[in-house]
Symmetry: C2
């Protein structure tokens, strides 16, 4: 997986920082997660091919997470896109986008599918052979979901030395990778476990923004490879977390620790702070493997 | 007057160019004209004080002229604005903005006044003691208005040498500036024309974007000091003007010439062109006093 941070600051776009948007590359998918104002420019700046974006996941309808969506949808149209676009987001997102397209008399020529979310329970919103995407219900000032992106368990790996030793015909490879034993011409049964190794470990990525501290989501994100968790405030302003529906760096790290994730990435910083390294310092007192997101930063895992 | 171009390219925001938005400073007003995506960042970059913007004029509801408005309205709220904001634009603009504020549960704490336009005749949309703003009906693919900003005729100018010569009391200055004669204590009548000079000439600015070539607007913008007229295409693509509802540089210059304006500023360039100086070259063959707008450029007149 490859995660490109297009924007990771809260509230308003500024000259050198962008509101929430990120791109997750996973098994040949390019998933866009949130889409604050200016996201289409950041996509260009980071050389993400527009045509490869087929799925957009919007956490909630605060402007710093979705005001860039209508412009992106319009730009796709102007670029003569014909590939369908799927948008997953809170109920209301369809009306907001379609009203603006209607007013500008510029309905898209490509298929535009809205998948409006209303459930407060985790649900599967996308699934194919290799990837599954589930919502992570979050607690914010308005209806809000994070998203959990999981690779599915892949095929078992052929041990080519063993396969060669028994001169197994290529026609059997597919079934062996699916876990089947092999019966040789002389009746000998070769056990699958002697011919294959375990599949690649399942990787997963959880996006949790925006949310106040709540432990209910821990069960859903348990053992996730990488967790992006909002940390709007430092300890000096932790009194603002509850009223604004946001988390501190320490709270994000506490969730990471309790969910036993592999790595924590912090983001959604309040623009009052000049030095985002302070978020890492505070979080590391609770959870060591912490990194800070920043606009244009790429994480590969 | 001072005109700051925040964006003057058509269609989509790109890494180094912005869609339509500009700021006109006139008699202590800061008028924002159009508001494409990213305008709030360009306002910051050009150090325009947010709180001084009290009037926003939106020509039409294509995204490259108004997708930045909802973000700006939201940011004003986050900055704890209390000054009223007046938005002038086509019918539908109120629904588009208020729907998005409603969905994000973030109605503005400051008074937000929409002035929705539907007339196809020129009308006065704003007026105070010193400035008047009228619509300029344009012909585009959807309902669209330009805007004419005019200073009102000011007071006559005191000729201080004459005023001193007759030792006229300061108490009379105001009435003299308004055009009154003065009667001295000995009964001598001093004619106003001997005491004053003409007021500053009336300056005016016309914004015409987006529009196909049409001569109906010439009467409205006749003798304007400065005309900003869209020129989306060069002659090489003039066949696209009619179908897209846009103008070429030559067409813009023709309007400038027929309206006897003082200066023409070109803008709203198609992003297919690399060198905007070509627009000036073509326009100058028809109208000499032509300049090209560019993002961040300032014109004082």
């Amino acid at each position: 997986m490859k995660l490109t941070i297009l924007g990771c600051y809260s509230a308003t776009p500024r000259t050198f920082t962008n509101p929430s948007a990120q791109v997750l590359e996973i098994n040949n998918h390019i998933f866009l997660i949130d889409c604050g104002e200016g996201t289409q420019v950041e996509l260009r700046r980071n050389k993400i091919k527009f045509a490869r974006i087929k799925h957009v996941f919007i956490s909630h309808l605060h402007g710093d997470h979705f005001f860039g969506l209508v412009g992106l949808v319009s730009t796709f149209r102007m670029l003569n896109r014909d590939t369908p676009l799927h948008i997953y987001g809170p109920k209301g997102i369809k009306e907001a986008i379609t009203l603006q397209l209607k007013l500008s008399n510029s309905w898209t020529d490509y298929p535009l599918h809205f998948h409006e979310l209303t459930s407060t329970e985790s649900e599967v919103v996308f699934e194919d052979e290799k990837v599954i995407v589930k919502t992570i219900p979050l607690q914010h000032r308005i209806y809000c979901n994070g998203f959990l992106f999981q690779e599915k368990l892949g095929d078992r790996k052929l041990l080519m030395s063993q396969v060669g030793k028994y001169q197994i015909d290529k026609a059997y490879y597919k079934s062996i990778k699916k876990g089947k034993d092999v019966i040789l011409d002389d009746g000998t049964v070769l056990s699958n476990k002697d011919l294959t190794g375990d599949p690649n470990p399942i990787q997963s990525y959880a996006y949790c923004s925006d949310t106040r501290y709540n432990e209910e989501k821990i069960e859903i994100i348990k053992d996730t490879t990488v967790l992006y968790h909002e940390s709007t405030f430092l300890e000096s302003h932790k009194h603002l977390c509850e009223v604004t529906g946001h988390s501190s760096a320490i709270e994000a790290a506490t969730i990471a620790k309790k969910a036993s994730v592999g790595k924590l990435i912090l983001g959604h910083y309040s623009t009052r702070y000049g030095n985002i390294e302070l978020f890492k310092e505070e979080a590391k007192t609770v959870f060591e493997n912490t990194e800070v997101a920043d606009d244009g930063k790429v994480f590969e895992f």
